[in-house]
Amino acid sequence: MIESVLSLRGVVKSYDKKLAVDNVSFEVPKGSIFGLLGPNGAGKTSIIRIITGITRADTGEIFMDGVPLNNRHPELIGYMPEERGLYKKMKVGEHLLYLARLKGLSAKQAKERILHWMEKFEISNWWNKKVEELSKGMQQKIQFIATIIHAPPLLILDEPFSGLDPVNTNLIKDEIYQLKEQGTSIIFSTHRMEQVEEICEHIVLINGGQNVLEGRVNDIKEQFKEHYFKIDYTGTLAEGIGDHFNIIQSEDKSIMLKAIEGQSSSELLRSLLNYGLEINAFHEVLPTLNQIFIRQVKQ
């Protein structure tokens, strides 16, 4: 059994009469990158706010490292909200120092770490720049540093790449991977599915305040596969080949097939060979998370 850094069990939160989080449970495996997905207004932010201790759940339990969530835990979490801002008139160095000290670092410790990160991100000369002089993407780097400055074992990143150019996206992405290597558990919230697919190992999909899907990305894809196969071939397609499977898409020397109910991939391949085709490539097409996401949300 995989150890969990965070467990949510039956968490419910309502505002006024609106149920924002409806009996949500999931486990975040330790040291993984975990995708918290869902359409806008699904309740992601409410869940994150409960985890970070900004609000409290009406009912349900939350454990961090097996201990019920308490006042000490927020310091072990680094949270970068989707809607984020900085004090425009403050200088970058001063601002980072302020945020770092609020996370409980001593002045000396904070300064050392800030200098380290600024050097790493090649922005050492920004210390005396005012925040308002920076572009949105540049401010995001500052925010990322502020989020990880106290080296929290759990990191929650809400749309960390929004507004970043490809170069800076990669910079942050590499940093996320490195942190994971160092043992940090990361909750990554987004609705950009291609990023999730690339980065996350586990996901939970929230819709209408409920947990609709949870598990390892590969398992989920396996679970939702529809037995599509893509075949590159040489030769010609014989008449009657369509009796054995449904041709979804046919291009020059390449077809997409859907296997008939109960047909295994070996049987499919065998019958293709029986038609005298020379197969150059044969692989099963798993659904993208995007497709699964849209399908689940529409249901």
Partner: protein, 442 residues
Amino acid sequence: MNKLWLIIKREYLTRVKRRSFIIATLLTPLAFAIFFIVVGFIFQYESDEVRRIAVIDKGNVLQKSIKDETNLYFKFVDTDLETLRSSFDELDYNGILVIPPINEILSKSHTVYYYSNQSPSLDLESLIKSRIRERIRNYKIEALQLDRRQLDALATTIELDPEPIVKGNQDGSKMTGAIAAGIGGLMGMIMYIVVFIYGMMVMRSVMEEKTNRIVEVMISSVRPFQMMLGKIVGVGAVGLTQVAIWAILIPAVIFVTSLVFGFDANTQMEMAQNTPGGAAAMNPDEAEAMAIQIIHEIKNLNWWSIIPLFIFYFIGGYFMYASLFAAVGSAVGDDLGESQSLTIPITIPVVIAFYIMIVAIESPTSNLATWSSIFPLFSPIVMPARLAFSPPLWEVAVSMLVLATSSIFFVWLAGRIYRVGILMYGKKTSIKELGKWLFYRG
């Protein structure tokens, strides 16, 4: 606690270091100085123009003597009025004053005539009237052969000197009341301004934090209540700093300018006499004696209790109102129009308190003044105004207790609204909505 301190420090330092703060803090006393200089010049300017007046006094009522004034000269002439009028343009006179002979010595009213191309200015008119009144009085005294000393004794002035019942208690003088009213009014006024300026500053700052979403970043490492309290304390400290600097700089600047430009309280007072409707005639010696007494009275006030109490009411009132402003700021975000409709319920008690304060300095022991200085929404403005009148100890004690308790209560109340409001977007806020937020679970 450490985090709260960090927030206070940031709120304080960013404001105090801001150029606008430094400029406002230093320029305000300078503005006072300029105002003072300009007013001084305006008063002096009046007597700038040299005026010459020909006096025709056929009956020799004035006995050829009338006191000249700086820039105003009287000249007795023997020429008759018609000749003077026809050659008026060649002669260098501003006007001709004609004193008719006094036929009816017992008549109370006499008319003199002033011929000129311009009607006399108000100050000229009152000056001529007062000079001639004195001369005619002298003329009558002599004509009636009266005893001048007896007459002088008839003009009686009454002064009321308040004395304490218990011997040894502070002995007020005849001016204690007026001075206490002046100082009380000033203190009430300062409180009124402080509540508005710094309360609004807190509100705007909260709105800004909410709008640019820095709260989202902050809120995961500090409690909303710490953020709110830190801001209120930080801005309050800025306010105290500013008021303290002004309390030193403004009197200093006024003192220096009065030394440099040479018009002090006495000349201002004399000038006031010359203007119609000004203070009753008072000779310079009397004015000086009064100034000395005023200074003595001000020194005599019990500053050792007034200043700490003033600071207490400053802090109490500021905390109460600033927290309410913070709550409103958290609820509205960037919608200024909406903030106005929510600040009105807060500003109304402040304005009412201001008017009560004005009445309270006139009658500091009235029921209205007493109860208003206990009612917490009014007391921060009304009580400081009454402090110089040495209100009964029990009233001060009750008022302080009520204010302290209510301040804590209001800060708590505002904290409940703030923690919800600060993270709530796109929702129209009404008073009813704010009420609901109070009961939200953490």
